[in-house]
């Protein structure tokens, strides 16, 4: 069995205490929640922190609820949340504490109702045991993955190491100083497509960052989270439900604030989201390709705004460009879906950072985009 390196375990009760520990020990400390990513990585000697700061004792980082300017209106784990959501006003958000497990998120009625793509993605991470431990905060901050990186110390030493850890060569690109390890988390593409924001708390205070701005194209450290910051919660702006729970009036300003284009103020819209994951097994596997889509539809079924995010390609999820210019005002029929999928294909080039035929993975981009968009029309 692989051995863990020695470390000291801390279990603070508050975000502030956790941040202070991380700050105090600097690069010698790492936060841990479910541990499903960090523990194997430590066994592989990808990280050898002397201090592990557990976040599991911080109750403020839990909870799934719909909130508005008037405060929380629905609890996360109960049908009361469903009932309460009927009265939600337009500028509501779904708040998800970063410590919520992927299993809970995949089953949560509020998440399933408002963010089906996210619930689907959370339910497709790894296997049941890992979803019971793994948290959404951990999934968002998941380390990038590469066939030359996620290996044992012996294996990497036999290779001569790589750019991402202990070496100076990228074995994927052979040239260049940029690490192309793949962003491999399932939930972030959905959070980006849904216009989520992340709340980060660090030694100098709390800040919000749009999910779409959170990731950078650096496979070595692919997020804007500083090492002494903690992702405490995720907020997803909701359209707000109408009678069927799917329609609402959009507050254009609110959407603009969350980093998306302005919606036509006052129109009744319906939002749908979906997620498709390419993998060879029906459990356990990381994505070989992931596709998240979210669309806002007018009452007549035409597209107001549609967003697609593709990941497991490089270090950062790719927000697909040029969709609204062909989709806005149109119905999401087969022809439009095909055109959107073709635009996706043209923008996505999988690399050999995952040990599965990259030509095939590229060919699967339009197929999976098509299928994800099909899910929007089917639901």
């Amino acid at each position: 069995m692989l051995r863990l390196p020695p470390f000291r375990y801390h279990r603070p009760r508050t975000v502030e205490a956790a941040v202070s520990l991380l700050h105090e020990h600097g690069t010698d400390a790492m936060p841990i929640a479910g541990g499903t990513d960090l523990m194997p990585n430590m066994k592989h000697r990808l990280f050898t922190p002397a201090h592990i700061v557990s976040l599991n004792g911080i109750s403020a980082m839990r909870g799934i609820e719909v909130t508005s300017d008037r405060g929380t209106t629905g609890g996360g784990n109960a049908s009361s949340g469903d009932r309460a959501s009927g009265g939600v006003s337009s500028d509501t958000t779904l708040r998800i504490g970063a410590l919520e497990t992927l299993a809970d998120i995949s089953a949560n009625p509020l998440v399933r109702r408002h963010c089906n793509g996210l619930a689907t993605a959370a339910g497709l991470v790894a296997g049941p045991q890992l979803r019971n431990m793994g948290t959404i905060g951990g999934n968002v901050c998941l380390d990038t993955r590469c066939t030359y990186y996620n290996q044992t110390e012996f294996w990497r030493s036999a290779l001569g190491y790589c750019l991402k850890k202990d070496g100076d060569v990228c074995h994927v690109t052979k040239v260049g100083r940029k690490c192309v390890a793949a962003h491999s988390a399932d939930t972030p593409p959905n959070l980006i497509a849904l216009g989520a924001t992340f709340t980060l708390t660090g030694p100098t205070g709390t800040r919000e960052i749009a999910a779409s701005d959170f990731f950078i194209t650096d496979g070595i450290w692919n997020t804007r989270r500083d090492s002494d910051e903690i992702l405490t919660e995720i907020r997803i702006p909701l359209m707000g439900p109408a009678s069927n729970g799917r329609e609402s009036r959009v507050d254009g300003a609110r959407i603009a604030r969350s980093g998306r284009g302005p919606g036509p103020n006052g129109r009744r819209l319906r939002r749908r989201s979906a997620y498709r994951k390419l993998r060879q097994r029906n459990s356990i596997d990381f994505p070989l390709l992931s596709v998240a889509v979210a669309g806002d539809f007018a009452e007549d079924g035409t597209v107001v705004e549609i967003r697609g995010v593709v990941s497991a390609l490089g270090a950062r999820p790719r927000v697909l460009a040029g969709w609204d210019e062909i989709a806005a005002g149109e119905r999401l029929g087969n022809e439009l879906i095909g055109a959107l999928a073709e635009r996706a294909r043209a923008q996505c080039r999988p690399l050999d950072n995952i040990i599965v035929d990259s030509d095939w993975r590229r060919a699967m981009v339009p197929v999976y985009v098509r299928r994800a968009l099909g899910d929007l029309t089917g639901g």
Binding site: M1, L2, R3, P6, G127, T147, Y148, N150, Q151, T152, F154, W155, S157, A158, L159, G160, C162, V169, H171, L278, Q280, R281, N282, S283, I284, D285, I355, V356, D357, D359, W360, A363, M364, V367
Partner: protein
């Protein structure tokens, strides 16, 4: 009937090797080569030895004797002496107070290597006739990159092709796969002051390990004891000695303390001994009616760094193909190459799964070309029972036709084959496999299997069995036989197995030999006790011995059930009359069940099992995903001593074949990918085996042909049922989407590429309407 070890295993009470902790036990680790091929210039261990907590370091020079499971090809040292031959080859071993200290000590061992060119491709290794060699040639003038060449020809092969009205040719590649047992290899060595050496090991061959430990470590075999605790899966991957077993013994001899080594999962991948990659070319001739006229095979086996069982594998690659179909003429030419990769060896269906895949696809192509139903084609070529194969193997019981009937009916074949819509299909394949090998690995005239029974005054029967329980149910099997013969309730029978100090020799859990051989030995021993008990009870009742029946915990007089006594009393009477009650039994194979030529004995078995599968698949032509929905498995096991265990073996086999068909791939990085010969993904995350969600529905159809020589008619069930999985799925994919995929595994990218190539070909045919058939009727 319950498995006798089931409860302990299901409740976590079974003690595997790694569960054993001895007082004062040290922990060992093995330093492994980062190079695929290099000369060892120097090893400096003093820094490691100086590390506090380190008790001993050993290198190859401490054990400079070669070993090998096949006595003719000993080419391994416990730790490398002069050269390393693959990434992961063992170079030195450390014993320390704990694993962390041992790991730290490995970093302090300085090895100076001189790198040598590495061979990853078996063809390149064979072509380098003048070297450089991976091994020194065993004889001057030989190619040191070749383990074994076998060329055998039976009947008039070219005449057979001349008579053929259809000749189908095909190239096939079976990429290697490994066993992935849940339990990694583990061993504990204990050298005691009196010169006795005990090794506990997760092995499936305690007897061979016993011999090799004594020979390599130069200890009198009478002082060596091998104990095999319950094994958490083996599948052929623990059927020869490994470096850790020698290292724990040697480190214990040096330190006087017990030493344990447990492999990491990564090391299990390096130890390997899994299925050889086979590069195969087949030519198959048939008449217009679909009767085979001639078969010709050219096979290159990629053996990896050491011989392992490779000599046998090379023979098996050809010898085991000659049933269940009649072949008037057959030739094979097989060459096993050394390459700088982990050594290949036996995996469930040793040496014959790869050719069976190719050959059953060839048969499907013949059926297609001749417009004959593939099941009907197989029936027409049926070799029959009580016959000899073209290469001289004696076949006795043979339920293959019943297997074909069973899968045809259960799968609703006639309404499905070539009748399902595009994207869905069914495929069939058949196979045979040995029930043990007729000859032991080292030549000797002694029994292959032995057992000893001892009856206690309490009514308990103790069974001393040399056979290895590796999850297949051998401890249960002997319990059932003792219960059957002596009438003892199952819970009055204890099995002590796998301890060379106390149990007679059984050669090991390999080649599907145990039920047949140990079962017969057990019947013999039990009958010897039964005779004594009947005799003593008959005397008390003034009856004939044959009138004394033993059943259900009682001795009962036939025809007079009022006359009875508990078995305990019957045993006490027998002990009073004959003294301490015990008996041994043994089994040796019948001779003259094979031809008379060099190599004729390899492939010879006292009985053969037969199998047929039908697989139903759904192929997504857009993505290449193959969803195997169901596999119907019909298997002739002779007689099912416990149908639940037989069905378990059938399902497990079909699952394993299915896994190899769709996912498994033991592959390596090239020099261009950073390091030649580095295992692509030595972990269960990236070396993919199917999860329960991926696994098809499996329906077992047990066929009982009642073998004349098997225990109560039983034959094997552990390996045969794997074989047809792969070709049945291949043939079903063809039925579904019209493509033949001759390279394993049938992964989505490969299926997708094949479908795209077929589409491109169809498009080009539209423009130029000229069809070049791969298989043309003359």
């Amino acid at each position: 009937m319950r498995k006798v070890d089931g409860l302990a295993k299901a409740t976590g009470r079974a003690r595997y090797t790694d569960d054993i902790r001895l007082p004062g036990m040290l922990h060992g680790k093995i330093l492994r080569s980062p190079h695929p091929h290099a000369r060892i210039v120097a090893i400096e261990t003093s820094r490691a030895e100086a590390l506090p907590g380190v008790h001993a370091v050993v290198t190859g020079r401490d054990m400079p004797t070669t070993f090998g499971i096949i006595p003719w090809t000993p080419d391994e040292y416990p730790l490398c002496v002069d050269k390393v031959r693959y990434v992961g080859d063992g170079v030195a071993a450390v014993a320390a107070v704990d694993e962390d200290t041992a790991i730290a000590a490995l970093d302090l061992i300085d090895v100076t290597y001189e790198e040598l060119p590495a061979y990853l491709d078996p063809h390149e290794a064979i072509a380098a006739e003048a070297g450089p060699y991976i091994h020194e040639p065993r004889k001057p003038g030989w190619n040191g990159n070749v383990t074994k060449v076998v060329k055998l020809e039976f009947g008039e092969v070219e005449d057979g092709f001349a008579e053929a009205e259809l000749v189908v040719e095909g190239d096939y590649l079976f990429e290697g796969t490994t066993h992935t047992p849940i339990e990694p290899h583990c061993a504990i060595g204990l050298a005691e002051g009196d010169g006795k050496l005990t090794v506990w090991s997760a092995t499936q061959v305690p007897h061979y390990l016993h011999r090799e430990l004594a020979r390599v470590l130069e200890v009198d075999p009478a002082r060596v004891r091998v104990i095999q605790p319950p094994v958490g899966g083996a599948f052929g991957g623990k059927s020869e000695p490994f470096d850790l077993e020698f290292c724990v013994a040697k480190l214990s001899m040096k330190t006087g303390r017990p030493v344990k080594i447990l492999y990491t999962r990564e090391e299990v991948f390096y130890a390997h001994r899994g299925r050889h990659p086979f590069h195969m070319r087949y030519r198959t001739g048939a008449t217009r009616e679909g009767l085979l006229t001639s078969v010709d095979a050219e096979i290159v086996l990629d053996g990896g760094a050491y011989a392992s069982f490779g000599l046998v594998t090379t023979y098996y690659s050809g010898q085991l193909l000659t049933a269940p179909y009649r072949m008037p003429a057959y030739r094979f030419h097989s060459t096993r190459a050394y390459t700088n990769k982990p050594a290949c060896g036996p995996k469930r269906g040793h040496g014959s799964v790869q050719p069976r895949f190719a050959f059953e696809v060839q048969l499907d192509r013949i059926a297609e070309a001749l417009s004959i139903d593939p099941i009907e084609l197989r029936r027409r070529n049926f070799i029959g029972p009580n016959t000899r194969t073209v290469n001289g193997l004696r076949v006795t019981s043979n339920g293959f036709l019943e297997c074909l009937d069973a899968v045809e009916q259960a799968s609703d074949w006639k309404r499905k084959h070539s009748r399902l819509p595009y994207g869905r299909g069914v495929g069939v394949a058949g196979s045979t496999y040995i029930t043990g090998t007729n000859y032991p690995i080292y030549p000797n005239e002694m029994p292959q299997s032995g057992i000893q029974l001892q009856v206690d005054r309490s009514g308990r029967v103790s069974v001393f069995s040399g056979a290895s329980e590796i999850g297949q149910g051998v401890d249960s099997m002997v319990t059932y036989i003792v219960a059957e013969e002596l009438g003892v309730p199952l819970d009055h029978i204890r099995v002590l197995a796998g301890d060379t100090d106390f149990t007679p020799v059984d050669l090991g859990a390999y080649s599907s030999r145990v039920t047949f051989m140990l079962g017969n030995a057990c019947i013999e021993a039990a009958k010897r006790i039964k005779v004594m008990v009947q005799d003593a009870v008959a005397e008390a009742w003034d009856a004939k011995p044959g009138e004394v029946l033993l059943a259900g915990g009682w001795a009962v007089r036939a025809g007079d059930t009022a006359t009875s006594m508990p078995l305990r009393e019957a045993f006490n009477l027998a002990e009073a009359k004959f003294g301490t009650l015990g008996a041994t039994g043994s089994y040796n194979t019948p001779k003259d069940v094979h031809g008379d030529y060099r190599g004729a004995t390899i492939g010879a078995s006292p009985a053969y099992s037969f199998t047929a599968h039908v697989a139903e698949v759904e192929v997504d032509p857009e993505t290449g995903f193959v969803n195997v929905e169901k596999i119907w498995i019909a298997h002739d096991c002779g007689r099912a001593l416990n149908p639940v265990l037989v069905a378990g073996q059938m399902e497990g086999s079909a699952y394993m074949g299915f896994a190899e068909a769709l996912m498994e791939e033991q592959i390596f990085k090239s020099a261009d990918q950073g390091r030649a010969g580095l295992h692509n993904a030595p972990s269960l995350l990236d070396y993919r085996i199917p999860t329960s969600l991926d696994t098809p529905e499996l329906e077992s159809l047990i066929i009982e042909s009642i073998d004349p020589e098997g225990p109560y008619g039983a034959k094997e069930a552990g390996e045969g049922p794997l074989h047809p999985s792969i070709p049945a799925i291949a043939n079903a994919i063809h039925d579904a989407v019209g493509v033949r995929i001759n390279t394993l595994p049938f992964s989505p990218p490969r299926v997708w590429r094949a479908i795209r190539a077929a589409e491109a070909e169809r498009r080009s045919q539209v423009s130029t309407p000229q069809v070049t058939a791969a298989a043309g009727v003359k």
